[in-house]
């Protein structure tokens, strides 16, 4: 399992060199970005990239010819994503701190929650989509996220009084707990679905 997770780093050594510059770029050239979005983009970077590599039929034939079970391959993807998410958010936090870009722990927590939700929907899709479309899907997803995230959150803040009332009336701790439970729950369900799809996949 650890070997499969480590593999993601080996296959994208060169892209990883872009990781820190990417965050610095976001800090300086997109100054109005919410730190939440920066954390979210950072957290998905490694896993999304690894998916693009592993979506190739050839990679699936390789991994499945090695002494790994399909269950392990999917499990390493879901656990690996968490590992890389934690490392990436820590790194991004470091970069933001050093560049004086203001953020709070809450931004990180929300980004982690959004990461789980985003991954929960994206990962099974990656197993269903044909390799050629995955790059396109990632690109579109990123653009939609980048363009739509702030207007959407503003819209929710202003118009969804039911939600905001609920948010205001509920204690922060409860909110965190509900958020964490929902996003992690979705992630676990998604893991089951991916495993189901991958067991039946034909290479």
């Amino acid at each position: 399992m650890f070997n499969l997770i480590k593999k993601d780093i080996i296959i994208q050594k060169t892209q990883l060199l872009l990781f820190i510059p990417l965050i610095i770029f976001l800090v300086f050239f997109a100054q109005n970005l919410s730190p939440i979005l920066i954390f979210l983009l950072a957290s998905t970077f490694i896993s999304a990239n690894a998916y693009v590599y592993d979506a190739l039929t050839e990679s699936n034939i390789l991994l499945n010819s090695l002494p790994y079970t399909r269950k392990k391959i999917v499990a390493s993807r879901y656990l690996g994503a968490i590992v890389y998410m934690i490392i990436s958010i820590a790194l991004a936090g470091g970069v933001l701190y050093l560049t004086g870009y203001g953020y709070e722990m809450m931004d990180m927590a929300i980004a982690v929650g959004l990461f789980f939700i985003f991954a929960a929907f994206a990962f099974p899709l990656f197993y269903i989509l044909k390799p050629a479309y995955i790059g396109v899907a990632v690109l579109i997803g990123t653009i939609v996220l980048a363009l739509g995230f702030q207007p959407a959150s503003r819209f929710f803040m202003e118009h969804m009084t039911v939600i905001t009332d609920f948010l205001v009336s509920t204690s922060t701790t409860t909110l965190y707990l509900i958020g964490a439970a929902t996003s992690i729950g979705l992630y676990l369900i998604s893991w089951m679905i991916s495993q189901f799809i991958y067991q039946r996949k034909v290479f």
């Binding site: 080996i10 060169t14 390789l62 499945n64 010819s65 002494p67 079970t69 034909v202 290479f203």
Partner: protein, 291 residues
Amino acid sequence: MGMENVIELRGVSKALKAFTIDNMNLQIKQGYVTGFIGANGAGKSTTMKLIMNLLQPDKGKVSVFGLDYANHEKTIKDRIGFVYDSNIFYESLNLKDISRIVAPAYKHWDDKQFKFYVKQFELPLNKAIKKFSKGMQMKASIAIALSHDAELIIMDEPTAGLDPTSRRELLDIFQEVMVDGKRTILFSTHITSDLERIADYIVLIDEGQILFDKPVYELQEQYAIVKGSTELLDADTEAYFIKIERSPNGFQALTKDVAKVKEVFGEHAVIEEASLEEIMFYMKGADHPYD
């Protein structure tokens, strides 16, 4: 199952979009080189994928080393070395990084052995796989397949797309590898001449069906090409042949009962040794393939 069979397929059926395998039975014997031959699209790769558990059968059982994949996938694959007809390694990586990914997957990875083959095959460790020639990619794949003490080597068209020189070179390598006699090799190809030097058994597949599974010496002893005048043919004598081709100058046919043909036709027909290619050609669309 007996220990002498490394691979056993029993009543395996698999329906794919463009292709069906129906009730296939196949045994690959331990310690021998089995050549798996058939035209392009005959079902070789599908069968190989069933053996590697890249495809799961709709019906029937696949066992390798006497174990099933449902309970022993890791153990089975730990003991298999694989070579495919096209590159399956991350092509932007170099061989060193690929060995870093592959090595920890195996219990018995032997880095010394790997370095030995890398040197023998003159492979660069720091060059991206996509910059390798087809022959080098195959050699890289073989080097990896041979570096974890695998008991069974499965190769799907390892010589496909190679120029004659590299093909020869690869066949020499295989021959060396087999010297210790401990290993079992299953080697699919549509270039039958590859096998004449190295195979102990030949399995012929056509349209998803195993037409035969025989030791090479038996093929050489029993099968022959018979040429003669069409006057020799009648309802009785035609039964000796798997397939007959007629032309104005006479007939040419494949028999699997060379002794009987010699006895009946004597000096009247020309009897020649049949090459694997001829056997494959005549068996395809044979009149009585299973007799």
